[in-house]
């Protein structure tokens, strides 16, 4: 029973009700704020993906970036040389683990014509027994074009065609370059890179720094690269001029049908002062390198039938023994990939056939 003598006055009641209302409103507001609902200018996963879609258009079912690709598979064989640096089980000597990979062209256009200057990527998923899985996405550029999520977003926005002219606004590009001098420096390094004739003779770099942690607990900063065993052949002038739509992918399929392709997994060990939080800055060329083993790729398939399509090559899927560095791009990539993966997974029924079809791969198999 209620004790009437303890009941506050009507005015007191109203104040108490108002207090309860204020607490509930505050709690709801805090939730909306943390979810980004009250700050339209905050860079969220949704806005990042929207920037890709504004630049490249809507392509349901495809990755929002590196949209044009092909699946490969094979294995990684460790030579044991990285085992002292990282306790990751896949680096144990003689360890042979299955690999599912994906070659792709950067950008959100799934049907773009192959061009040598377009950034090429190789993503790998290592599947050692026991589940200590490792996923990595690498690119054939020496440094990342930007060093932050905001920089990446600003670059996408600056490069998006103006609806009136159909071309990016030069003033916006100028403003981007003024605001991001690190991107200007990185862009120069990227343009100077030697461009190889195809996917098979390109070097793919992790770009972001990570940490290798040994069984002893000792940690070192690292970057890694897949360096081709196939000899480097520079892109020829005719090739640059006469590329037809899927020539890079067709060449890859033809070569892999002929013989297995191999890349050395080279780990570069950073010194304590080397930048780990800025992927636009190269490390000095004299840094110690360790060859951890060899990636062999002997199977290829279209994305429409291949095993890589349902894999999100999230750079934060790391085994014990490999850890993220303080590079903010790792979180940014992981977050944006997650959003892209969710969207394209939900659009699977709307997805048209990929640019490189299963029939095209089959045709490439014939001598």
């Amino acid at each position: 029973m209620l004790d009437e003598s303890k009941q506050p006055s009507t005015r007191g009641q109203a104040l108490r009700l108002a207090l309860i209302g204020a607490i509930l409103l505050g709690a709801a507001g805090a939730f909306a704020y943390v979810g980004g609902r009250l700050s339209p200018n905050r860079l969220t996963q949704t806005r990042m993906i929207a920037a890709f879609e504004a630049l490249s258009g809507d392509h349901p079912g495809f990755r929002r970036n590196h949209a044009k690709g092909i699946c490969v598979a094979g294995w990684f064989e460790s030579n044991g040389q990285a085992a002292g640096l990282s306790k990751a089980t896949l680096f144990a000597q003689g360890q042979r683990v299955p690999v599912i990979g994906r070659f792709a062209l950067a950008g959100g256009l799934p049907f773009q014509a192959d061009k040598a200057a377009t950034v090429r990527s190789l993503a790998l998923q290592f599947l050692p027994p026991g589940g200590a899985e490792w996923r990595t996405g690498m690119n054939n550029i020496p440094v990342f074009p930007v060093n932050s999520a905001q920089g990446f977003y600003d670059q996408l926005r600056a490069g998006t065609p103006d609806p009136a002219t159909g071309k990016p606004d030069p003033a916006k590009l100028q403003a981007f370059m003024a605001e991001h001098p690190e991107a200007v420096r990185a862009g120069a390094l990227i343009r100077q890179r030697p461009v190889s004739s195809g996917f098979t003779d390109a070097t793919y770099n992790s770009l972001n720094a990570f940490r290798f942690v040994a069984a002893t607990g000792a940690a070192v900063p690292v970057r890694w690269a897949a360096v081709p065993v196939q000899p480097f052949v520079a892109e020829s002038a005719e090739q640059a001029a006469s590329l037809d739509k899927n020539s890079l992918f067709d060449d890859l399929a033809a070569q892999i049908h002929q013989q297995a392709l191999q890349w050395k997994l080279m780990v570069t060990i950073g010194e304590p002062d080397d930048p780990t939080a800025d992927a636009t800055l190269p490390w000095p060329a004299d840094r110690r390198q360790v060859e951890a083993g060899t990636v062999t790729l002997d199977r290829i398939s279209s994305e429409d039938t291949g095993p890589c399509t349902d894999i999100n090559y999230d750079p934060l899927v790391l085994p014990p023994g490999i850890e993220a560095s303080d590079d903010p791009l790792l979180s940014a990539r992981s977050a944006a990939y997650a959003r892209s993966f969710t969207l394209r997974a939900g659009e699977k029924s709307e997805k048209p056939p990929s640019a490189v079809t299963a029939a095209e791969i089959q045709a490439g198999a014939k001598p």
Binding site: L43, A149, S334
Partner: protein
């Protein structure tokens, strides 16, 4: 009859407040990380997964505890409609506390994302790989998160009404530091 209401048993109160803190932290981490591309994202994800599983384990312990030592009865002054509302909102809270971690676990299973709790400790997948199912569960996970937060707000509002307006002892039956039940 006195306005003093029988308190919840001590273990029930400890579990309630511990889980209140964990579930709220979980909801804020979840809504924050799903919107984020910041450097905090990776850390938030690495907290979200083990914390969610800890909540799943605790909610099972809590349900067993609730069965062994039932909550004190509501005061007679509470009208039947409000009793029904109280009962229903508690069923919803428990259901969502069980469902949220299970949907999270299931969606990562369908996506074949390794579910790392700590170091080499991983959860096994509980669903076959299925991206379409993943996408559906991923959106469901967000919707259930909003529903859980809304249910929490109703729960908080009702608790404050009992504590500040009705002052019928219901608030004190959970918000008390005393050791005994009375």
């Amino acid at each position: 009859m006195t306005p003093q209401h029988t308190r919840f048993p001590l273990l029930s109160r400890v579990l309630h407040w511990l889980m209140a803190a964990m579930v709220l932290a979980m909801l804020f981490i979840g809504i924050g990380m799903a919107a984020s591309v910041s450097a905090r994202y990776g850390l938030l994800v690495s907290i979200h997964r083990p914390l969610g599983i800890a909540i799943l384990v605790l909610v099972v312990i809590r349900l067993v505890n609730r069965w062994l030592s039932p909550p004190p009865p509501l005061p007679d002054s509470i009208p039947p409609v409000q009793r029904l509302a109280a009962h229903a909102s508690h069923i919803l809270l428990y259901t969502l506390m069980v469902l949220m971690p299970l949907v999270g676990w299931a969606m990562l299973s369908a996506a074949r994302t390794p579910i790392v709790l700590w170091g080499s400790l991983q959860l096994p997948p509980i669903l076959p790989q299925d991206p379409v199912l993943y996408a559906w569960l991923r959106f469901l996970h967000t919707d259930l998160g909003y529903l859980l937060y809304a249910t929490f707000l109703i729960h908080l509002g009702a608790a404050l009404l009992h504590g500040l307006i009705r002052r019928d002892g219901v608030f004190g039956s959970m918000a008390s530091w005393r050791l005994g039940n009375r």
